[in-house]
């Protein structure tokens, strides 16, 4: 079935819940305003189940209601994994046979962002979710620059290491810092290196939209729950072609 609606307790009931704050004091008018918003968002009828004044002039609402929108699962746009998931052994074997040298990876968390847990999960031996990180792969040579790395430093290191791929992490998203930093990074690589010499550019972080590759000027985006094996498989696929 490709057409679905939200499910509360009966197929087709279309029930959803929503919470939000309006910057007005709590009174009957405020409750009406909350219902108006819910109606405009497509909830009809909208049932206001909770309203609570907060501080001066703010009210928090919880609204339950029925939405009439239909969702067509056929028309959903997603980035499907378009490469085979390989084991570490297979990844190493492909690199060894086809590239005949180690594949160079440079990773960093750029800008003023100091969150290293995500990039370390992908790169460090320790890995994540029971999978070892890229350092474990004998045929990958990994340089992990850590956090708060500037774009010029990253470009310089990528050049020195003859990076085949550059892996960048961005966790802080306030004021779209992750988008600005990623665009600055990809622009710097475009400026510094001609098309054929440019490493594969990969960014990752929990709040990226995987569909934004073109906009950000990168080759691939990874988000929440990424594991090292997916990244290794993608590297082989994108740089070598994974047909073993």
């Amino acid at each position: 079935m490709s057409i679905v609606r939200p499910y509360g307790d009966t197929t087709g009931d279309g029930m959803v819940q929503l919470s939000f704050t309006l910057p007005i004091p709590h009174d009957k008018r405020a409750e009406g305003a909350a219902i108006q918003l819910a109606n405009k968002m497509g909830m009809d009828p909208a049932l206001l189940v909770h309203a609570k004044p907060m501080g001066d002039g703010f009210t928090f609402f919880v609204v339950y209601g029925k939405v009439s929108h239909l969702v067509d699962t056929e028309k959903v746009q997603i980035v499907e994994r378009d490469f085979p998931l390989l084991s570490a052994k297979e990844v190493n074997a492909v690199i060894k046979r086809k590239l005949r040298r180690r594949l160079n990876v440079v990773g960093a968390c750029i800008g003023t962002d100091a969150h290293t847990v995500g990039i370390d999960a992908i790169l460090n031996l320790k890995g994540i979710a029971g999978e070892k990180g890229l350092e474990y792969y004998a045929e990958l040579s990994v340089t992990n620059m850590g956090a708060q790395v500037s774009v010029p430093e990253l470009v310089e290191t990528a050049r020195e290491q003859k990076a085949d791929a550059v892996l960048v992490s961005q966790v802080v998203t306030q004021r779209d810092a992750h988008l600005h930093n990623t665009r600055a990074m990809s622009a710097a690589f475009r400026e510094a290196l001609p098309a054929g010499k440019r490493p594969l550019l990969i960014v990752g972080g929990p709040r990226f939209d995987e569909l934004m590759t073109a906009d950000l000027g990168v080759d691939r985006i990874f988000t929440r729950g990424t594991t090292p094996r997916e990244v290794a498989s993608y590297l082989v696929h994108a740089l070598i072609g994974s047909k073993a």
Partner: protein, 518 residues
């Protein structure tokens, strides 16, 4: 509260003695070095203020000028006050401006009388600066008497972080009205790596607001108004950690901040600041906090975001003991030690809650007189905000059951955004429910002898002692280089800010340290 775990006092005493031995070599390093930020803090207390048209503070320009002429090893006080007398420029900010323009040269006078005279003037200026700090402290005592302390323990600690001081102020006031006893203004990302303190009121931080003297002043003044309105003194917190710990401490003292995040290793581990730089800066900054009557908050909670909260539980205890030693050595009293720890065990583990209770109670009993800072779950918070709210409730319950001093309110949206106004409201409701319904449950709560909680606490203490013994043998610097804390490897020869460290010469003079150690 003491005595629920049946800890052997001899073992606790042994742990403390080991921490002293592990920490002493680091104190020796701190006492024999200075840094650009220590020297800038001296100048700030001596009255140098403001910044040039690029926003670089005059203290930076002055210290850089002195350093270029005579190095840092003598301390800047004597060269600066000697130059002031020689050029007849009494206002040190004006002297800094002239020095920046290349119109003043600095040297260490050869005549003994000139040195003595320069020292005397430096001492007088430093004393004037410390007088401001003392007045602020007395003012705090007065206001607390007038408005009163929070009625309950733990004190409720809330964060604001809009990036814009003028947004932060109404949010902080609203948070206080909603029940917060302590407001922390988180700093912008990147500030801890600036080797200067920005100037003026600021509106453009990322994920936090710049810590500046003017922002401190504005927020403190606003919270004074709210304290009066609420009849309860609202405390203000900011962050010392970073490349400018000494200056942050001086500014916090002069603007009557009440608490400062000041961990002995946070900058090293989580900002890759050079270990020696950090330890030198840390000691001076804590001496200033001691004088200012500021409560420090240490950062052990952070280790559990990069290391596992069960495997690394003992590293928290070790770090708390080290932080306690460094704090006492710098003159801080027990009531000023907001030692940190956190509810960060993977909630999917069996018995996770019992282990949390054991760890929290262990800290309580090792440090009975310190207002421990209890930090909420962050690492295992996910986009499932409903589950997050439940975890925060259990976190609050541990806080109440184990008599924590300061409770940082956990947000169910921790993994998603910096807190929304509704997140804060829901979180406070959670805290109120627990404190109201179970705030006195600790009276009935005694872990069974020989039971899980007692065993776990004693096991962690035992592991802490083993680790301390290793650190005493290998040195703390080696332990930090090896990734003992938070799995971060930080060798003493690397990291940011090392170029701002200098060994003290035989004639090193620092009028502030002299006054603080008198």
């Amino acid at each position: 509260m003491a005595g629920k775990l049946d800890l052997d006092p001899r073992i606790v005493a042994r742990a403390r003695a080991l921490a002293v031995r592990a920490g002493q070599p680091v104190v020796d390093i701190a006492r024999s070095h200075t840094t650009v930020s220590v020297e800038r803090a001296v100048l700030r207390l001596a009255g140098v203020h403001g910044a040039d048209s690029d926003g670089i503070p005059w203290v930076n320009r002055l210290v850089d000028a002195v350093r270029a002429d005579v190095g840092l090893g003598h301390g800047v006080a004597v060269p600066v006050f000697h130059a002031a007398a020689a050029t007849g420029v009494d206002d040190l900010t004006v002297l800094a401006q002239k020095a920046a323009a290349g119109a003043v040269r600095f040297d260490v006078p050869e005549k003994k009388a000139e040195v003595t005279a320069a020292r005397r003037r430096a001492k007088k200026s430093a004393a004037d600066g410390l007088k401001i700090v003392d007045r602020r402290r007395a003012e705090r005592d007065r206001l607390i008497k007038r408005y009163g302390d929070p009625q309950q323990r733990p004190w409720i600690y809330l964060i604001v972080a809009t990036g814009d001081i003028y947004e932060d102020i109404p949010q902080a006031q609203a948070a206080a009205r909603a029940g917060a006893d302590v407001i922390a203004v988180i700093r912008s990302t990147g500030q801890s790596l600036l080797d200067y303190v920005p100037e003026g009121a600021t509106r453009e931080g990322f994920a936090g607001t710049y810590a500046t003297q003017e922002n401190f002043r504005l927020m403190r003044a606003a919270l004074d108004v709210t304290s009066k309105e609420l009849g309860r003194y609202i405390r203000l917190t900011n962050y010392a950690s970073g490349l400018c710990m000494p200056e942050m401490a001086a500014l916090a003292g002069m603007e009557r901040l009440d608490m400062m995040l000041n961990d002995s290793m946070y900058g090293i581990l989580f900002r890759d600041i050079n270990p020696i730089r950090t330890f030198v800066d840390q000691r001076f900054s804590r001496q200033v906090h001691a004088r200012a009557g500021i409560i420090i908050n240490t950062g052990e909670d952070n280790y559990l975001t990069t290391a596992d909260a069960v495997d690394a539980a003992h590293t928290v205890t070790v770090s708390q003991l080290l932080n306690e030693f460094f704090a006492h050595e710098a003159g801080l009293a027990d009531w000023q030690l907001g030692l940190g720890h956190a509810f960060e065990i993977n909630p999917d583990l069996p018995e996770s809650f019992r282990m949390e209770l054991a760890h929290a109670l262990l800290a309580r009993e090792i440090f009975p007189d310190a207002p421990l800072k209890w930090m909420p779950p962050t690492k295992h918070m996910t986009g499932d905000v409903f589950r997050g709210n439940l975890l925060d409730g259990f976190f609050n319950l541990v806080g109440a059951l184990t008599g924590q001093g300061i409770l940082l309110v956990g947000m169910m949206t921790e993994a998603v955004v910096t807190p929304w106004i509704s997140d804060r409201d829901i979180a406070l409701q959670n805290v109120r429910y627990v404190l109201n319904g179970a705030g006195n449950l600790h009276e009935d709560f005694v872990p069974a002898p020989g039971g899980f909680i007692r065993n776990r606490a004693n096991q962690v203490l035992g592991e802490a002692i083993e680790l301390l013994e290793r650190i005493v043998d290998d040195t703390l610097m080696e332990a930090i280089a090896d990734g003992t804390f938070g799995l971060m490897k930080r060798p003493a020869t690397r990291g940011k800010g090392l170029d701002g460290v200098a060994k003290q010469d035989a004639d090193y003079y620092n009028p502030v340290t002299e006054a603080l150690e008198a």
